[in-house]
Symmetry: C2
Subunit: 164 residues, 2 copies
């Protein structure tokens, strides 16, 4: 598949392991920052970590209900607000959906690659592209604050296929 360095989502990997690692990281980060990763918030994060697809708030809601938790939209949206504002998840604007952050260990600006065929979502750090975008904005007199970069296309596995 691709390679292990920049981005592991489109690669084969031990997904249970990556989920557990992410949860451990989130718990540690919350302890360090004095944030409360309550059971509700933790469960929503786990659900996001179960796949590398983006989930809509109502998909998450349905899972919570399937697990027997009574749940209503505001509960999910509040958990997602927490996760997004503290960097444990991201919102995908094109999809009205959410995905767990793949690089929560460091502060970063994300760029998303969204497969139009299998709907997997990969997050890569924006890095220098973010700086370039800020520079372009500055040249136009605009004080940039938060950039969104989301690219639709085909993931490695879906490129051969006739689109499935």
């Amino acid at each position: 598949m691709a390679q292990e360095i920049p981005n592991n989502i489109f690669c084969q990997h031990d997904h249970r392991g990556c989920r557990a690692t992410a949860m451990r990281g989130a718990r540690a980060a919350c302890r360090a920052a004095n944030l409360r990763l309550t059971p509700m918030r933790a469960r929503v994060l786990e659900i996001l970590l179960e796949s590398h697809k983006a989930l809509g708030a109502y998909d998450i809601l349905a899972r919570l209900r399937a697990e027997g938790r009574s749940s209503q939209p505001p509960i999910v949206y509040r958990a997602l607000d927490f996760l997004v504002s503290n960097g444990f998840a991201h919102r995908l604007e094109r999809l009205n959906a959410f995905a767990a952050c793949a690089h929560a260990e460091d502060r970063h600006q994300p760029m998303f690659l969204i497969c139009e065929s299998c709907h997997q979502v990969a997050e890569a750090p924006l890095d220098r592209l973010g700086q370039d975008i800020f520079a372009r904005a500055t040249k136009l007199g605009f004080q940039a604050r938060s950039p969104v970069v989301e690219v639709s296309g085909l993931c490695p596995a879906c490129q051969g296929d006739g689109e499935q």
Copy 2:
């Protein structure tokens, strides 16, 4: 036409003039491409061109109704589909809203600057940044098709203010 400075939306300009120019351009482009810029579609484009803010579909709907046209959501969405797929308007994913294209004369990928204070929206060509994004995606094994770049921040006029 516009001007050679990259972006005139955050500058003072004769807005009636720029609207008329854009409408003329759209009519010519439709004639050339054998597309039908029907009265409905033209009116929606004019409404988008009346300001440099992004309008939600239901804002447009309200205007059409205020003008006496009976109108329902599908009508507006269909007109917007036409305008967006033929390059006369763009959808702003972060805002669930639409804006007339500021550079309809040439095929381009847009980048949007969205003022969080006055809600004006400026479109700049993505140009080399688009190529860089594609290159990054390619390096990750991803076949990029359509990139979305939308930057929130403060426009020149709103930077001094206490946010108003």
